[in-house]
Symmetry: C2
Subunit: 138 residues, 2 copies
């Protein structure tokens, strides 16, 4: 993915273009799996961890990435599907976590099945977390 393309993505989300954002964006685009802040800290020691923290936050708020629920302590983030624009943000995601290599992948192109919830409950978003063994580790 070219720097120009990345800059356009940032512009489209009304974010200032900075080195850190370009590098992090590039990392997400080149990564098959979801990333945590500590992943980024390991990759980019030229940036302060607070800067990476705020970079992730700005991406989150502008709808470029989404937070993936997990039962470890650390938050992981995945790129949003193309259709996830700030004003057309869909919140249904399928994620796969490999219990062997630990990687988390997003299957944004797959449909989240219908859910049965007791009456009186209003659904805003649905997250499906599948645990198991990924294709690489199987």
């Amino acid at each position: 993915m070219s720097v120009k393309t990345i800059k356009n993505i940032l512009k489209n989300h009304k974010l200032r273009i900075t080195d850190c954002r370009i590098d992090v964006m590039n990392q997400f685009l080149n990564s098959k799996s979801a990333l945590s802040q500590s992943d980024l800290e390991g990759e980019f020691d030229q940036y302060d961890r607070v800067t990476l923290y705020r970079t992730l936050n700005s991406f989150l708020e502008s709808g470029i990435i989404h937070k993936i629920p997990n039962n470890q302590g650390t938050a992981t983030y995945g790129l949003c599907h193309d259709t996830c624009e700030p004003h057309n943000h869909h919140h249904n995601h399928i994620h796969f976590k490999c219990n062997n290599c630990g990687q988390i992948e997003c299957f944004d192109d797959r449909e989240v099945p219908m859910v049965s919830i007791p009456t009186g409950y209003q659904i805003e978003s649905v997250n499906l977390i599948v645990d198991g063994t990924c294709a690489n580790c199987a």
Copy 2:
């Protein structure tokens, strides 16, 4: 739920019977929603937080409770369904998190729908996290 019943649950899971475990177990049984460690710390200041931490761990390992994936920092735990015995442990859970009151409920009695995952991936467990407004807050 009587103390005797709780003691039996602990015995069935090969856990020693201690005051802390009885109190925590009772709390789970009486709580409609999932609990976090800090919930327990607020409830039981007579126990050290490390003790509560290890109590939760022992319940986790013996399959009495399960960890609920979420995208906040703090882990929350829910009681496992009756069928969740150590050697017959099913891992499919539906959870509802209310964005208003923050409570997390487990719908263990509801079927987790079929999931479509790319070939080569092996599924171990499926967690469904539904966000929205609960019946109380709606």
